[in-house]
Each structure stands twice: as C-alpha cells, then as structure tokens.
C-alpha cells in the first residue's frame, strides 16, 4: 500500500491535480507518525502507512487552501464527507486516497499490557490478529483486540466508502460494540450521583488545552463558543464546572458530525475518557435519528436539516 501511495501522491503533484498532499510520515518518536503536509513532490517518498497512523487528517482540510490529496482511513474519510455535507469542503477539491484500515494500535494500551513505556519497547508488530511486542529481548503476543484503540474495535466502516483511489483491498468490518462501549456501559450502570462525581473528578484534571477540540475535524469554528466574550458562556478558567460545560456543549455541537475517530481522547494529555461522551453521543444520534456521520456526501448534515416525518417525542 505504501509504495502505491507514494507513487500516486507524487503523480498527483507532478500532474498538478492537487496543490497539497496531506499524509503521514515517520514521527520523531518510536512507533509514532506525524502529519506530512507538502507541496513538494519529492516529499512523497516519505509517506507511510503503518499501524500507527493515528491522526484524523481531515482536520487540516478546513485550514489548507487549494486542492488536496489526502490520506484517510475509514473513519477519517467519513470526516471528509461530513465536511462536504457541512459545505466546508468541495468534493472536487479533494482527492481522497483511501486506506482500508485494520485498526490502529493504541500505544497506551500496549504500555499497560507490558507495563513499560513506549520508548522502552524494541518493536511493535501486527501479525494478523495478533500484536507482537518485543521488549527486553522477549517477545510478548497479545490478541489485537487488546491492543487496538477502543473506537477501532467498534469500527463498522474500516474501508473508506468515498474515495478517489483505494490503496488496498477492502477490509471486512468486525465491530465489537460491547468491548468498545465497555467504559460507557460501566458508567450507565452506576447511579447519576456517582456518575456526576466521576465526571467531576475526571474534568478536574482538564487544563483547557483544547487539544480535543483542535484535533477534531468537526470543530472548525473560527471563534469557538468558549472564546466568545459577549456573552461569556463559559469562563476560560480550568475549573471542573467550566470544563464540564465545555465538554457537554462541544459534544452537542459536533453531534451528527463526529465519526468516532477517537482523536479527542487520544490527544488529551491528562487521559480524560472523552470517548465515553462522544461515543455515547454517536450512538444516541444513531438511535434517535438513524444517522451516522459522513456516509453520504449528498445528504444534508443532520443538525441543519429538519424533516416533517421526524419523531417529535421530546415536545409533547
């Protein structure tokens, strides 16, 4: 897939079909990739596809000007479509280089499995349905279900549905919703009072770095509601009360456009379980409106559209 990608990306730039290529290149840390945003066709040789291509590169589409050749996994490609539904991206301006994705390895989970930090590991390789970790000269094997991101475990669309070039064979979906929703189910099983205490505790760690918001392709407002001063909806001070309001409102704002790419939770430097909120919203949207973000580029976006036949149980 990698060779094909490099070839295609270079060609796109050479032939002037795109102004930019946005993809992944090896990062500066072990088992890390980093976004590559370039106009230079020679940079295409740096593009990689591996189990560590975490970022949702659709995030850059609302910032980069011009035509873009973009490397996307299943979830990311739906973010691109969601942006098209939002009229933020024009379909003809994007060349979607689709990567059928077998799931991305969660370094946090790997670190917990072998109780070592990322930089202390010799190698992490995916072999079929196993993840092999080499550390201190030893080989340790785990089923992939223990090492992939939670949202990858729930993934129904690993292969991009909307694409210009599919870089490999489509991957079958094998979603394990129960495992992916484990944390959410735990929360739903405790009393509202305890749940409130849980979130109060978690959100006390929040430092309002806004990484969750800034990695999210669905968050593209020039001026986020937290930055509004007239009126000041929320104090830009990292108190748990304000942090809680920030998360709740952000979730409502991205409802129907969030594709559960999991970037918000991964980016959080203080490990707040944000996906317990976003995935819950994702599933609620599906349940209430039978809608999943980014499936049909010609469909209107959920929250900006009203149909008379919609259920209206909430106002009776």
């Amino acid at each position: 897939m990698e060779q094909r990608l490099r070839h295609e990306a270079k060609a796109l730039l050479e032939q002037g079909k795109v102004d930019w290529i946005i993809g992944f290149e090896p990062g500066s840390l072990k088992f890390t990739t980093t976004p590559l945003i370039t106009k230079d066709k020679n940079d295409a040789d740096r593009l990689v596809i591996n189990p560590f291509i975490v970022n949702n590169l659709a995030n850059f589409l609302t910032e980069v000007k011009g035509r873009v050749g973009i490397v996307v996994k299943g979830c990311d490609s739906r973010s691109v479509v969601s942006l098209i539904q939002d009229n933020k991206v024009v379909r003809e301006d994007v060349v979607i280089l689709g990567v059928p994705c077998p799931g991305i390895i969660d370094l946090g989970k790997v670190e917990r499995l072998v109780t070592k930090d990322r930089d202390e590991l010799d190698d992490i390789i995916r072999e079929g349905d196993k993840v092999v970790i080499r550390v201190d000269g030893e080989k340790k094997e785990f089923p992939t279900t223990q090492a992939l991101f939670d949202n990858c475990l729930a993934c129904e669309f690993p292969t991009p549905q909307e694409y210009n070039i599919l870089l490999g064979e489509p991957k079958p979906a094998a979603p394990n919703l129960a495992q992916s929703r484990e944390n959410i189910e735990k929360l739903e099983g405790i009393s509202p009072g305890k749940r409130w205490d849980f979130w109060k505790n978690e959100l006390s760690r929040c430092i309002r770095c806004y990484a969750c918001r800034n990695v999210c392709p669905a968050c593209f407002c020039q001026r986020c509601f937290v930055e509004e001063t007239e009126p000041q909806w929320v104090l830009p001070v990292p108190r748990w009360q304000d942090n809680l309001i920030f998360q709740i409102v952000r979730n409502i704002h991205v409802a129907g456009r969030c594709t559960d790419c999991g970037e918000c939770e991964r980016a959080c430097p203080v490990n707040i379980p944000l996906r317990s909120l976003t995935r819950e919203m994702y599933d609620l949207v599906d349940e209430l409106f039978h809608f999943k973000a980014g499936m049909d580029k010609d469909a209107p976006s959920l929250m900006t559209h009203y149909e008379e036949k919609e259920a209206e149980e909430f106002f009776r």
């Binding site: 890390t32 309002r208 806004y210």
Partner: protein
Amino acid sequence: MAGKKIDKKDIAKLLSQWSQELAVYVPSIESGVATMAKWDGKDTSFLDWYRNTVIPTKASFFPSAEEMFRFQKDNKGYHIELPPSNERKQLIFGVRPCDARALAILDMTFKEAYEDPYYLPKRSSAVLVGLGCTNPYDSCFCTSLGISPAQSTDVDLMLTDIGDEFLIEEITDKGKELIAKATEVKKASKEEEASAKEVKEAAYQKVTRKIDTEGIGDRLLACFDDQDYWERIAAKCISCGICTLLCPTCYCFDINDELVRQQGTRFRSWDSCAFSLYTKMPMENPRAEKWRRVRQKVCHKFKFYPMNFGVIACTGCGRCIRLCPVNWDITQTLESVPVKV
C-alpha cells in the same frame, strides 16, 4: 562534603517526619497521569514507576487556575479581599533537574520589577527534594541546555538512586535542616559516593536527543522574516495549548472575572501564545496566522527570553514532544534553523 544516604525502604519514614510540619507532595498516578499530589501517608510505589510528571512542577507555585481576589458590593461600594490562604509550606519530593531548573528560570519573570504576590511566597517557602533520573525518556534533551539529568543545584536536597539506597547531597541550608534530625539518614561510604557518580554519568549518556544551541538565538532572528520557512514548520501544528501549558518554563496567563449577583472572583489561569485569539485586539490580531504563533513560541524561548534574562527558556524536559497530538518536535525545528554562513 561528606555524602549522606538513606535506604529506599526508609523513605516513607522520612516523608512522615516531614509531613508533620510540611505539606508533602510526591509523584502520584491517577488514570495514567503522573502529577505531584499530596502524599497519602503510606504509598511509596512511585519509587518503582516514576520517570517524570505530566503536569510540571510550576503547577505547585503557579497553578492552572488561581483565585487572585474576591470582591463584593454593598451600599458602601466595592470591597476587595484576598482569598483565604491556609496552606502549609510545601515540600515537593522527586523534582527532576529539568523541572528544578525551570523553576529558577520562571523565578526571573515573577521577581522582575513588580514581584508576583501569588507565585513568590509559595516558591520561597517551599522545599524541593530533587531526584536524579536513571531512565530519561527518548524525548528528553536536557543535556543540550546545560542541565544534567541526575544533578541539580536548583533544589535543596539532591537524591541519586544507587540501587537500594539514595545518596543524599545537601545543596542548601534548608536542605541541611530537613535531614538534620532524620534518624534514617546515614553517612555514605566512599564507594557509595563513587557509585552515585557513575549513576549520574550513565544517566547523562542515556540522553540521546541533542540539539546545537550555539548561536541559536541569532540564527532564529536571521530567518525571522522567512514566511515560507515558518509556514512549513508550522504546517501540522493544531494550535492547541499542550506544549505551552505543560511546559515547565512557560508562564503566560490570563485574567478573568466571574460575577455572581453582587460578588465575584478574579481568576488567573494558564494561557498559551499558541491559541489563535491570544493576541487579538478589537481591530486586528498581530498573530492571526498560525506560522506567526509558532515562530513566536520558538523565538520567545530561544531568543527573546535570553535577551531579557540571559537564559534560554527551555530545559529539555521533552513534554512538548511526548504529548503533542501531532508529534510536532521543537528539536527538529531547531535543528532545521539555517546555520549562518
């Protein structure tokens, strides 16, 4: 100066002794996030897993959110009062040399001209017990900034891990006083002192990430107006605040008021030059473009701060590299700055 030592098993006793008069903070982990938290009175398991905290030590003196004062209005007008302060003096156990140096760098800003009345009292009354690294991260680059991972004079006591024991060096009088009455602290032998020296050397060698800081300030100024260069450098940055909020030498803050009917509070909280609206004025925003903000961050740390205070405002702790969601790496940027011919 005769070195001292303490058995690792006796650390809990020492911390207990200190807890009688001081608020003792030790490395703690919650939900996988390492921070300095109030010692619970018994747990010393941090001795096994601790490498460095996510939240830097600055948070102990310059917290992420802080009440500056409270105000109240009655029929006589406004009244202002300071928030109640009943905190004991802090003792922070396990400060890494990079974070300790960072505090010394921060001191310069908070002391200069108008002395900061929130940071300085906490800082001057606190005691720092330094702990040398034995296992630096691959993102650490302290050695390039004149800092040794296992040696520090910015703390009151410096501990070196020599196996089952810590070698203790008394750096300041405050530190001396701390262990003056500690019965668990014994004299160290010459072999133990030599062993500590080896441990420090080994830690130094383990720091493999390096940057060349020779003339870096002037090299940055030379390419200051190269918009193409900075746009390429800034391309993947997402303008969140992780690198700056979690940087031990960053100190930008915001001031905000909260009003609830006739009373309220003025807060100080962490802010970041990386945020898009950081410099926004009503009619213009001098750093509306991302490349200007990234340029500001790098140049402030490696040129502007040294111009004012004579030190680079970076201690190579590597948090920014480890925690950046897009793996933007300041060492890569600094290495890419053209060398003046």
